[in-house]
Amino acid sequence: MNTNAQNEPVAETPKKNISVKVLGVGGAGINVMELMLKSGLPGVGFAAVETDAQSAVASSASEKVHLETQFLRGLGTGGDPDRGRALAEEQLPKLKSLCDGADVVFILAGLGGGAGTGISPVLARAAKETGALALGFVTTPFGCEGGSRQRLAQAGLAELKACADGVICLANQKVLTLIDENTSLLDTFRIANNFLAEGVRGVWRLLTHKGLIDIHFADLAALIRDRHAESSFAVAEAMGPTRSREVMDKLLAHPMLDGGHVLADSEAVLLSLIGGPDLTMAEVNRVMEQVNRQCEHGQVIMGAAIDEAFSERLAVTLIAARKNPQRASAETGPAAGAEELDQQLLPCSATARPESRFVPPPPALASDQVQQLLARQSRGSSRQRKNQARSRQTQLPLEIVSKGRFDKSEPTIHKGEDLDVPTYIRRGVALN
């Protein structure tokens, strides 16, 4: 499913005519969507998908889908993703009709609960089946919400990644570092939601505004697919004659980027600039120079667009896909294991899929089952075995380099590189 995103029709259609639909799933998703509704995005359709009758009614979205069966007795999914998933599968036609006619579907959800975690993967699949590109914007729970929710969220994230064309994930825990101790619970959630909404708006802008230097959806999808545990995104805006410098300062000071450290660690960065007709090449250049300097090791994709409404202003949207430190230990993590399995199974299941209304969800498996299945797979054709060998290679944990003499002293970090580690090791020069 993931692999054919480049061939999707939308990437070729003229940018201006893209029709975008924003779907809020579950309580958290709807909250984020409400935020966006309030500020308004022209030409975007909003819809709420909910299992809980009350919150569905409260939403001001133009379309509402209330998923309900007798089984739930109007109480929602009760935090069980399996119920959410089953419900969504049952009502798939409803979901499909929701996505009908849209080119791009943004799915907003908070993972870790019943509705968001269960429904959003099915919704993503529904969107893809109607020919739209599905892009997930999700949050993972705060650390204090407990380990089980976190696990559910990770499993849901892996599932969503397998179904959607791209997922951008915001770890709520990260938001905690941005707020002071006196912030109320309400405000904390509002800030987290705001971040997500800002990100959606940034991506929407990037897709719909006519670009002088275009970013195609394919670029975006390639950037965020399969890469990450979490992407970081930051939106900054500045105005006035020194806007290019200011916007860069704001961006680097952006809490989600850890003072620019994220850029240094990231594998790929997508950057979109939007300014008024007075945007100069020098300004674009200045911003790009800075970003390039910050992320020496990453690939940078950039786009620039002009919008009349942005005269004298400059807005920068940045999405950074980080190197995934968890990948190294992926074999123990059930979430990552399931994803791996999904990739392995994909080639055969895609061809053998019957013409059916239902697409079975990827099975939820324990990690030992995953290992078993993987082992069985590897006994297949020789080509597959080669594939697996390659994916194993990426999972090898990095050699831990003892710092010898500098073990106890303050590390010398220069642009994210630890200079105490021998140069030849960092450069990967082999001594035989």
């Binding site: 500098f406 002293s409 303050e410 010398t412 200079l419 140069t423 030849y424 450069r427």
Partner: protein, 407 residues
């Protein structure tokens, strides 16, 4: 024998050695080096004191040796400081000329300098140097003395070197523990550049890279002024550590291999050669591939030069270096290092000679003594300034005075 006020001592507490140099400032202004003491340093990592008692002992050894050689009693020293926490940047001060005839007076100049020196720094940071650069009068650059000129606006740039107060205090505390006064603290790189460069080289524009044991300090001079300074907390220790890790030998052995067989470049003859290490009985213990040794070393050194070059390029100072690059510090002993630096920096590189002080014995003209000699030279400048102001009792040790009041 000597008048106490004419004795100037420079003390460098380095990562690999502690070095004290005694200079004698003659009444006619000539500076003579009369003594030198050194000791292996054990309590310092990356230019900063990590083990105070050990460092104190090493400093005592060096001072005693210098005292014996110069036959003087050392009461106060100019202390060299370095470390990864030091930063250098340029700050500009602006002052409007308000007098009716638009003539710039001495007061205007004092005011603009005062403005330039007001810098917003976090409370725990201490300004080590605030060095005046050129004046600008109504935007016209390169004026050294604007008094008497006409203009409506006067600006001046100062180069500020600052560091973390507590970490600077560590070195000062160690020296004070030995009942020695600290006249002033000086950035090591600045001291080295004072020892190496002639006025002509400063005018033409030069880069001094001091590759020490724990840090690499660099200073850029252009048009006679200090344009940029910086510290990279990587030095000879890192080379030894890389070798120890890569060749799987103990650190002391790696140090020895570096000195005996190291080089800046990986040249053809080294390929395929091997070295046999023997133990104290003369029996061979291990064979080491010379090519690996050189490769590990040259990669590290090349990286140091590359990082320095990047930092200077960021400060837009790379194009001013018409006199070239001068190397000093223990790292300058590495064979072919100048050639390697030339390859990386793309400009003429030579080993610095401490030739700007008269009466120096050739035995002292070693690159690793450049910092300590430069400290003495810095002290002699200060001394002359003080003599000119003739108010020694007024506590001109302004920077230090402030520093100690804060304790």
């Amino acid at each position: 024998m000597f008048n106490a006020s004419s004795i100037i001592v420079g003390l460098e507490i380095g990562t690999s050695k502690v070095c004290a140099v005694v200079g004698d400032l003659a009444p006619d202004g000539a500076l003579n080096i009369v003594g030198l003491g050194q000791s292996r340093s054990r309590g310092v990592r990356k230019g900063e004191i990590a083990d105070a008692p050990l460092a104190e002992e090493d400093v005592r050894h060096a001072i005693v040796e210098a005292e014996q050689m110069a036959d003087v009693e050392i009461r106060s020293v100019y202390l060299g400081v370095t470390g990864g926490h030091l930063r250098g940047f340029n700050n500009r001060g602006v002052h409007p000329v308000v007098s009716a005839d638009r003539e710039i007076s001495e007061e205007d100049v004092q005011d603009v300098i005062k403005n330039a020196k007001t810098i917003n720094l976090p409370a725990q940071n201490h300004v080590i140097h605030a060095i005046r650069q050129h004046f600008l009068v109504d935007g016209q650059d390169g004026i050294t003395n604007p008094v008497g000129m006409l203009g409506s606006r006067i600006e001046v740039d100062v180069h500020v070197v600052h560091g973390n107060l507590n970490r600077l205090q560590n070195a000062i505390r160690t020296v004070k523990g030995l009942q020695l006064e600290v006249d002033d603290i000086v950035f090591n790189g600045l001291a080295s550049s004072l020892a190496l460069l002639t006025n002509e080289q400063k005018e033409l524009g030069s880069l001094v890279i001091d590759i020490g044991g724990g840090t690499t300090d660099y200073v850029v001079y252009a048009n006679g002024i200090i344009k940029h300074t910086g510290v990279l907390a990587v030095g000879g220790d890192h080379v030894s550590n890389d070798l120890a890790y890569g060749l799987k030998v103990p650190l002391s052995r790696a140090e020895q291999l570096k000195i005996e067989h190291g080089a800046g470049l990986l040249d053809e003859p080294a390929k395929g050669q091997s070295i046999t290490i023997s133990n104290e009985l003369g029996l061979p213990v291990k064979t080491i591939n010379l090519e690996h040794l050189r490769r590990i070393m040259s990669l590290r050194l090349e990286e140091i030069f590359r990082l320095v070059s990047q930092c200077i390029e960021q400060a837009d100072a790379l194009d001013y270096l018409r006199a070239g690059v001068f190397l000093c510090g223990g790292g300058a002993h590495i064979p072919q290092i100048a050639k390697l630096a030339e390859q990386v920096l793309q400009m003429p590189v030579s080993l610095g000679k401490t030739n700007s002080i008269s009466g120096l014995k050739s035995a002292l003209d070693q690159p690793e003594f450049a910092t300590a000699i430069g400290l003495v030279k810095f002290g002699s400048f200060q001394q002359r300034k003080r003599a000119a102001k003739s108010s020694l009792t007024d506590g001109i040790k302004s920077t230090l005075g402030q520093l100690f009041r804060r304790i």
